[in-house]
C-alpha cells in the first residue's frame, strides 16, 4: 500500500503539495499512519494495563467502556470539524455554542414539566431517541437564527454562543433546584456521567444512531471541501447550500447528543482535537482532516484516560485537564486570528 500511495503522490505532486517526508509519503498520509499506530497502542494499553483476574471479565468490562470512549471521540471530532466547515471558521465549536448545555436543559425540562414518572416509565432508548429529536429541532432553529439570517461578526457569534451556554446551564440549575429531592436524584443519576463513569445502557442505541448519522454524512462527503470555501463560493460551485447545511447540522446535533449522553458536557475537547488536526495535517481536505481528528480524539481520550487511571490514579481529572489546555488553545487562536 505505501508503494501505491507513494507512486500516486509522485504522479500528482500538486495535489498534496511539495512536502514529502519519510519514505516518500506525503505529510497527511504520514500523519495518519502515525496517528493510527498511536491509537492502536493506546487502545491496547487501555485494555491490558494493570489487568488482574479473569481475562474474559476484564475484556468485556473494559470493552464496554472502550466502546463508549470511542463513540465519544468519534462524535466529538466529527461534529466539531463539520461545524467548523459549515460556519467557515476555526474557533466556533458545537459545545462553545452551548449545544451540549442544551441537551442537559432538555433532559431537565422533561423531568420538570412531565414529572419524574416520564423518565422512569418510558423506555430508556425510546426516550433517548425523543431527546435527540427535540435537540435536533432546537439546535437547528438556533443555528438558522444566528447563521442563516444577516451577516454577523465572528466574535459576536462566539460570545452569543457562550452566553447562550451559560443561560442554558443556569436554566437547568434553576429547574433542578425546584424539583423535589427524589425527582432530582433520579435526574442526577441519568445526567451523572464522566470519562471515568460512562453510561453503559445507551451503548447499543448510540452505536446504531452514530452509524446512521455517519452514513448520511458520508453521502455528503464530496461537498464538505466546497462548503469550507464559504457560502458564496459554495453556492457558486453548485452546492444546494441551505439544504446541505441543514442536513449537516442535523448530523452534528445527533452526534453532540450522543457524546453528551455518554460522558456529559465537555467544552473544549472538540476545539482541541480539531485545531491539532488542522495544524498537524497541514491541508484542509476533509478526507485527511476527519480521520486525523477522530484518531487524535481517540489517542487523547483513551490514552489520556489510561495514563490518568493506571499511572496517576486520578479518576475524573481528565476533563479538568482538557478544559485547562482547551482554554489556552482558544485564547491563543483568538489572539492569533485578530493579529492577522
Amino acid at each position: 500500500m505505501p508503494a501505491d500511495r507513494a507512486a500516486a503522490s509522485a504522479a500528482r505532486p500538486r495535489e498534496t503539495g511539495p512536502a514529502h517526508g519519510w519514505a516518500g509519503l506525503s505529510r497527511p498520509a504520514l500523519v495518519l499512519i502515525v496517528l493510527a499506530v498511536l491509537s492502536v497502542v493506546s487502545i491496547a494499553l487501555f485494555m491490558t494495563l494493570g489487568a488482574k483476574g479473569s481475562w474474559s471479565f476484564v475484556l468485556s468490562f473494559r470493552g464496554k467502556k472502550l466502546l463508549s470512549l470511542l463513540l465519544v471521540a468519534y462524535s466529538v471530532a466529527v461534529s466539531t470539524v463539520l461545524f467548523q466547515t459549515v460556519t467557515n471558521n476555526r474557533i466556533l465549536t458545537p459545545s462553545l455554542m452551548g449545544f451540549d448545555a442544551l441537551y442537559v436543559l432538555i433532559k431537565t425540562a422533561i423531568v420538570f414539566f412531565l414529572g419524574v414518572g416520564a423518565l422512569v416509565s418510558i423506555d430508556n432508548q425510546l426516550q433517548f431517541v425523543m431527546e435527540v429529536l427535540v435537540m435536533v429541532g432546537f439546535s437547528t432553529l438556533l443555528f438558522r437564527w444566528l447563521f442563516l439570517g444577516q451577516e454577523r461578526s465572528l466574535h459576536l457569534l462566539v460570545l452569543v454562543g457562550i452566553v447562550f451556554g451559560i443561560l442554558f446551564r443556569s436554566f437547568s440549575q434553576l429547574m433542578q433546584r425546584m424539583l423535589d429531592p427524589g425527582a432530582f436524584n433520579v435526574l442526577q443519576d441519568t445526567l451523572f456521567a464522566s470519562f471515568a463513569t460512562t453510561d453503559p445502557t445507551l451503548l447499543g442505541i448510540s452505536s446504531i444512531i452514530v452509524f446512521a448519522a455517519s452514513v448520511v454524512g458520508w453521502r455528503l462527503l464530496h461537498s464538505f471541501d466546497v462548503l469550507s470555501l464559504g457560502r458564496a463560493q459554495a453556492i457558486n460551485l453548485g452546492v444546494p447550500y441551505k439544504r446541505t447545511v441543514v442536513t449537516i447540522l442535523v448530523v452534528i446535533a445527533v452526534l453532540v447528543s450522543i457524546s453528551t449522553a455518554l460522558v456529559g458536557p465537555v467544552t473544549f475537547f472538540g476545539l482541541l482535537v480539531a485545531t491539532l488536526a488542522h495544524s498537524l495535517v497541514g491541508t484542509s481536505k476533509h478526507r485527511y482532516i476527519l480521520p486525523a481528528a477522530v484518531m487524535l480524539a481517540v489517542v487523547c481520550l483513551v490514552g489520556g484516560q489510561t495514563l490518568l487511571e493506571r499511572l496517576f490514579a486520578f479518576d475524573t481529572a481528565l476533563s479538568i485537564i482538557i478544559e485547562f489546555l482547551g482554554g489556552i488553545v482558544f485564547i491563543a487562536l483568538v489572539l492569533r486570528g485578530s493579529a492577522r
Binding site: 466574535h155 434553576l174 479538568i320 478544559e323 483568538v334 489572539l335
Partner: protein
C-alpha cells in the same frame, strides 16, 4: 434627579420586603408597637437585617466594581466574572485555605484580593497582545481566561478534596448570612465611596492614555486605583457570600442606556440599581419555592445571561 429618587424609593421598598420574607413569622406591626415576641425580634436583628444589608452592600459594590472596570479597561462588556477576576479571587481563597487554614478571615480575604489583582493584571497583559481592540474580543478572552484559572482551581480542589467548598464559593448565596458573617462587606461600601470621589478621574481615564496624560493626570495611578477597587470588591463579595455572575455587567450597561456615560452622574444610579437588582433576584429566589431557597447566583445566571444576550443582539452590528 427625580427619577433617581424614584429608583431609590423602589430599592428601599424592595429592602423592606426582603426584611419580612422568611419562614419565621416576623410581623412589621408587632415590631413597631413593641409587642413582638423576643424570638421574633432576635430573628429580625440577627438574620433579616444582616441579610438585607448584605444584599444592598454586595449589590451596590459589585455593580460599582463592574462600572469602574469598564472605565479602566475601556470596554462595555467586562466585569469581574468576564475578566478572570472572580476566578482568581476564588483561586487565592482556595490556596490560602489549604496553606494557612488558621489565618483570620480578614487575612484570607487579603490574599484573595491579591490573587484577584494578579489575575486582572494577567488579563490586561493578555489584552495587550490584541492589536485590534475589537469590543467583543475582550470579554471573550476574559471568559476563557476565567475558565483556565477555574480549571486550575478545580484541579487543586479535586486533589485536596475541597470540591464542595469551591462550588459553594462560585455559587453566590445569601441564605447563610447572619450577624457576624457579613461585616466584611462594609469594605465594599468604602470602595464605592472611593469610586464616587474618584469618578471624574475614571471618566477621564476612560478616554484613553494620551488624553488622560494631556489633562495632567497620572494614567498609571488611576489604573492601579481602579484595579485595586475591583479586586477588593470581588474578594470581599466572594469570601462573604460567593460570586454573583453578570451583575457588574448588566447594571452599568442598562444605566448607560438610560443616563449616559458621565461617571459622576452614573455612580449613584449604578449603586442603587445594583442593590435593587440583587434584592429583587434574592426575593425571587426565596419565594419561587417557598419555604426552600434558590441561591441568588442561579437566579442571577438566568436573568443576567438573558439580559447580556439582549445587550449583545440589541443593535445589528455590521460585520467587521
Amino acid at each position: 434627579m427625580r427619577s433617581l429618587l424614584l429608583a431609590f424609593l423602589a430599592t428601599v421598598i424592595l429592602a423592606v420586603v426582603s426584611l419580612f420574607i422568611g419562614v419565621s413569622d416576623v410581623s412589621p406591626l408587632a415590631l413597631l408597637s413593641g409587642s413582638a415576641e423576643p424570638r421574633a425580634v432576635e430573628i429580625f436583628v440577627a438574620s433579616r437585617v444582616p441579610r438585607t444589608l448584605a444584599l444592598v452592600l454586595a449589590g451596590a459594590a459589585m455593580a460599582i466594581a463592574g462600572l469602574v472596570m469598564q472605565m479602566v479597561v475601556r470596554n462595555r462588556f467586562v466585569e469581574p466574572s468576564t475578566a478572570g477576576t472572580s476566578e482568581s479571587a476564588a483561586l487565592g481563597f482556595l490556596v490560602v485555605t489549604l496553606l494557612a487554614p488558621g489565618w483570620p478571615l480578614m487575612a484570607k480575604m487579603g490574599v484573595s484580593a491579591l490573587f484577584a489583582l494578579g489575575g486582572t493584571a494577567l488579563f490586561l497583559r493578555v489584552l495587550k497582545a490584541v492589536p485590534l481592540r475589537d469590543v467583543l474580543l475582550v470579554p471573550l478572552v476574559g471568559i476563557m481566561l476565567g475558565g483556565v484559572i477555574g480549571a486550575v482551581s478545580a484541579f487543586i480542589a479535586y486533589r485536596a478534596g475541597l470540591m464542595g467548598s469551591l462550588l459553594a464559593w462560585n455559587m453566590g448565596d445569601f441564605s447563610g448570612v447572619i450577624r457576624g458573617r457579613y461585616e466584611l462587606l462594609w469594605i465594599g461600601l468604602v470602595c464605592c465611596l472611593v469610586a464616587y470621589v474618584a469618578a471624574d478621574r475614571f471618566t477621564v481615564a476612560g478616554m484613553g492614555k494620551d488624553f488622560t496624560t494631556n489633562l495632567g493626570l497620572d494614567y498609571r495611578q488611576v489604573m492601579v486605583l481602579g484595579l485595586v477597587i475591583v479586586s477588593l470588591v470581588s474578594a470581599v463579595v466572594l469570601v462573604s457570600v460567593g460570586s454573583i455572575p453578570f451583575l457588574g455587567l448588566i447594571v452599568p450597561n442598562l444605566v448607560s442606556l438610560m443616563v449616559g456615560d458621565n461617571m459622576r452622574r452614573t455612580v449613584p444610579w449604578v449603586a442603587v440599581g445594583g442593590a435593587g437588582m440583587v434584592l429583587a433576584c434574592d426575593i425571587v429566589g426565596r419565594l419561587i419555592r417557598f419555604p426552600y431557597e434558590i441561591p441568588i447566583a442561579v437566579v442571577m445566571g438566568v436573568v443576567g445571561s438573558a439580559l447580556f444576550l439582549y445587550l449583545l443582539l440589541r443593535t445589528p452590528r455590521h460585520a467587521s
